[in-house]
Assembly symmetry: C2
DNA sequence: TTTCCATCCTAGGGGCTCTAGGATATAACT
DNA sequence: AGTTATATCCTAGAGCCCCTAGGATGGAAA
């Protein structure tokens, strides 16, 4: 009997590929085992359970997405950086829909696993440094980061769910949305504390 | 033997309640049946299968959310309407997380069922009419609608997934985000066609 | 060569989905 | 009121998935 040579990494990658093909929710132990030419019980040597596998896929995806964004924004600033950042984000989501979905599911991931993954923290740093050129100060900076993430994620999620009718291509809207976000960052409104109207 | 008095509506509502409690993905025929005091096979008289049930929950949620938004924005315009619209959206998502998730899953819903549901179409109309006060013309109007939906959905999705660290409350960011969107709509950038830099 | 351990297996319990076919409550009709 | 008809709900059972327990075996170290 030839050993399949399983490792946590290979199982996770197989799960990630499956997620991209059939959807993150359809990632199943049985199917992953089938693809690896192995009985499903064998996977439990490398992965605690399905939830654990899903968490690992999520972390893998977060890291991959972060790397993409880091590469895309390297050496850029201002609008160039914003556009590169946003396009890297959207491209990753479109190329790896299952992995991308994984990054957004509120699953309980093993904390020590998260600690080892560089993705999430680095992603935050990247976003802040990208916004540096716009000269925002806290707490506006945090708010701006959150608005950007919200809009990026919301757009790709709606696009993936078929939420945009076909009259106008999502691509056209995307380009204009980035214009809008750029001008928004350049003219971030002052706080309206005590300004009732 | 006393009849349980099942109908498609009662099954759908039970499913929606279950979704809010345990998450949309965890909505199961067996559990819905259990709650209704019925064997799971009995549900198939009223609902084709799980996918069908999920689709009905999604349509129910879409309608409910639309009604909320319609009530909230009635008689308002400009910033007032924008804020009311956004808050109604977010409040619905937070009160009914399972139902809200349902509205975002790209499931294949029975087309004739969709045709009977007034929610989706009305939601689009509401958004357009809310933006009327900002004086945008097509295609900017469509783009603005999409940006708003993206930001609203992205924000509540990230908030629900615990995507915002605890340094600053999501509520504070939300208020500022609405400010930002308002000013963005008032100063929607002109198209940069043929404007390379 | 022998030992040993990680890797992979078989066996099996429990849950969920869905179909087929049978019983019965309720409403309609005579 | 008695009968009929239909929708409602049931039992039985097959198939798939998750996961555990415990047994075999490949491959590397002694």
């Amino acid at each position: 009997m030839v050993r399949a040579g399983l490792t946590v990494e290979r199982v996770t990658i197989a799960g990630a590929e499956l997620a991209d093909e059939v959807g993150f929710e359809q990632v199943t132990m049985s199917e992953v085992a089938r693809r690896l030419g192995v009985k499903d019980a064998s996977l439990y040597t490398h992965v605690r359970n399905v939830e654990d596998l899903r968490g690992r896929i999520a972390l893998l995806a977060a890291d991959e997405k972060t790397v993409r964004i880091a590469e895309a924004t390297a050496g850029r600033a201002g609008r160039d950086a914003l556009v590169a950042f946003a396009n890297a984000w959207r491209d990753y989501a479109r190329e790896h829909p299952g992995r991308y979905t994984a990054t957004q599911t509120p699953i309980q991931i093993d904390p020590e696993l998260v600690a080892k993954a560089p993705g999430p923290r680095r992603a935050v740093e990247l976003t802040y440094s990208m916004l540096r050129a716009y000269g925002l100060a806290e707490p506006d900076l945090t708010d701006a980061v959150r608005v950007l993430r919200s809009t990026f994620h919301g757009f790709v999620a709606l696009e993936a769910a078929g939420g945009f009718a076909h009259e106008r291509s999502p691509q056209q809207t995307w380009v204009r949305a980035l214009d809008a976000l750029h001008t928004l960052l350049e003219h971030w409104p002052p706080s309206r504390e005590g300004d009732p109207k």
